[in-house]
């Protein structure tokens, strides 16, 4: 579907079809959208939203190819995409979670409390060049020897499985794996990224859209974000009920986990921001520079063009 | 009129010269036998006439038309039975009729009527692997007969048959020929058989095969069991044995 080119004068009763491509499996990061769908917020805006679970590796190239109107991505991915040899014309339009809740987790018995302890350990990652730079930077900052860290790719395995064998620590979202560990009473050390370096408090995940769509059909984007924001607001206030809306759409998920995660994320979605979804240029700037400094980017990065708050609803 | 005219055929396989300047003529309604040592190239000659192999030299004409490399003009019974292992005997034998466009049921019915004559009654639904060697050969002969072209090439059709069955088939073949208007080229190793059935006998030499001798068989038809003891028969037999 390419409704970007479709006439805007669609009659009120006829809903406009909109496709949202997730970054990965539907989870509590996406709850706001499922709430908006279930509670009819999208319908009120004249939208019929279809949520698609994509292949591993995110939605940036799919959105760039016009396969859907909106996608879920990460600040890091947007930065890569916009600086690739052939840049992808995508832009972040809302931050789903205000602060970076990700970090390095390890079983307690590995005794990993700071990047200094990474020395001589094995890290299980997913194969992004950024991981290497990140670990290198963190370890060097604390005077540890990066060459003594072994990095392996754990592909589709999750944290709990991979630490069973040779892996010592890995990079997780606290809102999902961390909550899981709490539920399992799994003794775990967690090093939150934002605590290590303010530059690493980047936005993850974010909602993205194609630049053409933003230019040609700003109204659609506004409508979509208005309903989505309403959904997240609801999720912030009623975590349990919001979790049920997610489960209604994705019954395969574990209910206990979803509710627990929802309760954790209720504080995190908006956090200290004036409104849900708002992003600061400074964060884009700083992290972009951080990546650039480490030779991760092929081209120059313009933070101003990578994101926008202009489509977010004004209170 | 000349049905089949083979002129100056030469055929080599690699360095092996198999046929060297072989010429043979089959007139309309004639029965012509070919005798020759094993491995001399008789089957190869048939393959050339049937259009399955191209000779290195020479021409083959059927009713005046050059047929080198052209198939479908003659009924050909191979030395190997070449029955399709995945079809029952009845279905195997019906193939020529089906290829001629008969509906399957009718083809099977028509072919079925000959089973008794060929001593195959009761074996219609057997697969070739379930038959004895002689029975397979009879089935292959029946299949060739069902193709019923006016020119037939028969490569040792009675090779694996016992004396009685063979005698019966020979007599039947003679009778059939009287009504059928067919011209037949016939390979055999049995001199009696060749004389009994033929109007003319070609004797091939050892490899590389040439026509060593041609005998006209001047025994009047219809022939019968007495033919075997006739004087002409025995004289001819002696002549041929001497040549061989």
């Amino acid at each position: 579907p390419k409704p970007a080119e479709e006439p805007k004068k669609a009659p009120a009763q006829e809903l406009q079809k909109v496709t949202v491509i997730l970054d990965w499996v539907p989870n509590t990061n996406h709850t706001g959208m499922y709430v908006a769908k279930e509670k009819g917020y999208y319908a009120e805006e004249g939208l019929e939203v279809e949520i698609i679970q994509p292949t591993e590796g995110g939605s940036a190239d799919l959105i760039a190819a016009g396969q859907g109107e909106f996608g879920i991505s990460y600040q890091e991915q947007v930065t890569y995409a916009r600086t690739a040899a052939t840049p992808l014309p995508i832009k972040a339009i809302a931050a789903i979670i205000q602060h970076n809740t990700s970090g390095f987790a390890s079983p307690v018995n590995k005794n990993i409390r700071s990047p200094k302890d990474f020395e001589g350990k094995r890290y299980g990652g997913w194969g992004s060049p950024m991981e290497e730079a990140m670990l290198k930077a963190l370890m060097e900052k604390e005077g540890a020897d990066f060459s003594k860290l072994e990095m392996v790719n754990i592909g589709a395995s999750d944290f709990f499985t991979s630490v069973e064998k040779d892996v010592d620590f890995s990079w997780i979202y606290y809102g999902w794996d961390g909550v899981r560990a709490e539920l399992m009473k799994f003794p775990m050390h967690f090093i939150k990224l934002q605590d290590l370096d303010p530059a690493l408090d980047f936005y993850t995940p974010v909602i993205i859209a194609h630049e053409d769509l933003l230019n040609q059909n700003p109204e659609l984007t506004r409508k979509f974000l208005r309903a989505t924001a309403k959904g997240y607001q609801y999720a912030i206030k009623n975590p349990e009920d919001a979790g049920k809306d997610l489960l209604k759409n994705v019954p395969e998920l574990d209910e206990e986990m979803v509710i627990a995660s929802q309760k954790y994320l209720a504080k995190e979605y908006q956090a200290d921001a004036p409104r849900w979804g708002e992003m600061k240029e400074e964060i884009w700037e700083v992290y972009g520079k951080w990546m650039g400094d480490r030779n991760l980017l092929e081209g120059p990065f313009d933070a101003k063009k990578a994101f926008t708050n202009e489509f977010l609803p004004v209170e | 009129m000349k049905k089949v005219e083979v002129i100056g055929i030469k055929k080599c396989f690699g360095n092996l010269v198999t046929l060297e300047d072989v010429s043979i003529t089959l007139e309309e309604n004639q029965f012509v036998s070919i005798l020759g040592p094993s491995g001399s190239g008789k089957s190869t000659l048939f393959n050339i006439i049937a259009g399955l192999i191209r000779p290195d030299e020479g021409t083959v004409e059927i009713e005046g038309e050059n047929v080198i490399g052209k198939t479908g003009r003659v009924s050909y019974m191979h030395q190997k039975d070449l029955l399709l292992p995945w079809k029952t005997i009845l279905d195997n034998v019906s193939i020529p009729l089906i290829l001629k466009g008969f509906p399957k049921k009718q083809a099977r019915w028509r072919a079925g009527t000959y089973f008794e004559l060929f001593g195959l009654q009761g074996f219609e639904d057997y697969y070739p692997a379930q038959l004895s060697g002689g029975m397979r050969q009879r089935a292959a002969l029946l299949r060739t007969y069902m193709f019923s072209n006016d020119i037939m090439l028969l490569d040792e059709p009675f090779g694996g048959l016992d004396a009685i069955t063979k005698r019966n088939m020979q007599h039947w073949l003679l009778r059939v020929l009287e009504n059928l208007n067919a011209s037949i080229l016939f390979i055999t190793h049995d001199i009696d058989e060749a004389i009994f059935l033929s109007d003319k006998i070609y004797v091939l030499s050892e490899r590389p095969a040439k026509v060593k001798a041609v005998f006209d068989v001047n025994i009047p038809r219809p022939r019968n069991i007495k033919t075997f003891t006739s004087k002409t028969f025995n004289e001819l037999k002696e002549d041929i044995l001497n040549i061989l």
Binding site: T55, L62, T161, V250, E252, V258 | L52, Y76, K87
Partner: protein
């Protein structure tokens, strides 16, 4: 006697499998394997039963994709291999392309598939076709070329047209090979659909598995694997049943056929 023996024949594999399952169950119960890695068989069955209604729609969709892809593969394979068998030029042109198409790891093309064919059934069916088409075509091609040249000559000398030669000799001769290709393809077809769903979409066992894995529900992952295996075996059973129907002469030609059909 025959019947008794045949029952005896069945007992062994069943017994063997039972023993393996029992060991697994025992290990799981004693805690040698962690339930979040490899749940006990009984647990998997239990999960399967309680979750079956939830899985129902996913199962239907995956089966549909697999069967559709499988059937299309057969049709395409038959046409392509006959063309390749008839025309050497075709073979020379298509063969390298076919092989090349198989060497590309499909997962790497996933985004392209999404973009070209959308999020619906199409990309999944295409992946099933890509997976199944090759073994069927290769085996069929080999089978078509395996007919005794003299047999073909005989038919040709009886004036058989090309299509008749195929019907009478080449197809029957190719049947055993064709069916061994079908068995390979049939085995892979459900898996192909599941991998296809990995590419993205809304429903199907592949998506189901990713989701339940994300909630760390290993028992549900294994229940889905169980379903996939059962579906594949069902498909194979059908192929086998058809083979017995369509290649009745096999047992007169080759050894061991009898036993194999028993099993």
């Amino acid at each position: 006697m025959k019947k008794l023996q045949s029952i005896g024949n069945r007992l062994l594999p069943i017994g063997f499998t039972s023993i393996l399952l029992a060991i697994w169950e025992g290990m799981a119960r004693k805690g040698f394997v962690q339930p979040n890695l490899l749940p006990a068989p009984t647990k998997i069955i239990h999960t399967l039963v309680t979750n079956f209604s939830l899985m129902g729609e996913h199962i239907l969709i995956t089966s549909f994709e697999a069967v559709a892809g499988f059937l299309i593969s057969i049709a395409v394979a038959v046409v392509v291999s006959v063309l390749m068998d008839m025309m050497p030029m075709m073979r020379k042109t298509l063969y390298p392309m076919m092989i090349t198409s198989q060497t590309v790891p499909m997962i790497t093309l996933a985004p392209l598939f999404l973009i070209w064919f959308g999020y619906g059934y199409l990309p999944k069916i295409i992946i099933v076709i890509l997976v199944c088409f090759f073994p069927i075509t290769i085996s069929l091609l080999e089978g078509l070329a395996s007919v005794d040249q003299e047999l073909l000559n005989l038919l040709r000398s009886m004036g058989a047209k090309k299509y008749q030669i195929y019907r009478l000799a080449k197809f029957p001769a190719a049947m055993p090979g064709f069916f061994s290709g079908l068995k390979i393809a049939g085995t892979y077809s459900i898996m192909g659909a599941v991998i296809g769903e990995w590419v993205g979409g809304k429903k199907g066992l592949g998506l189901y598995m990713i989701r339940v894995r994300h909630s760390f529900a290993t028992d549900k992952v294994f229940a889905a694997i169980l379903v996939i295996t059962a579906l594949s075996l069902l498909l194979l059973g059908i192929i086998r049943w058809m083979e017995i129907r369509l290649v009745p002469w096999k047992k007169y030609m080759f050894q061991q056929s009898e036993e194999e059909y028993d099993s």
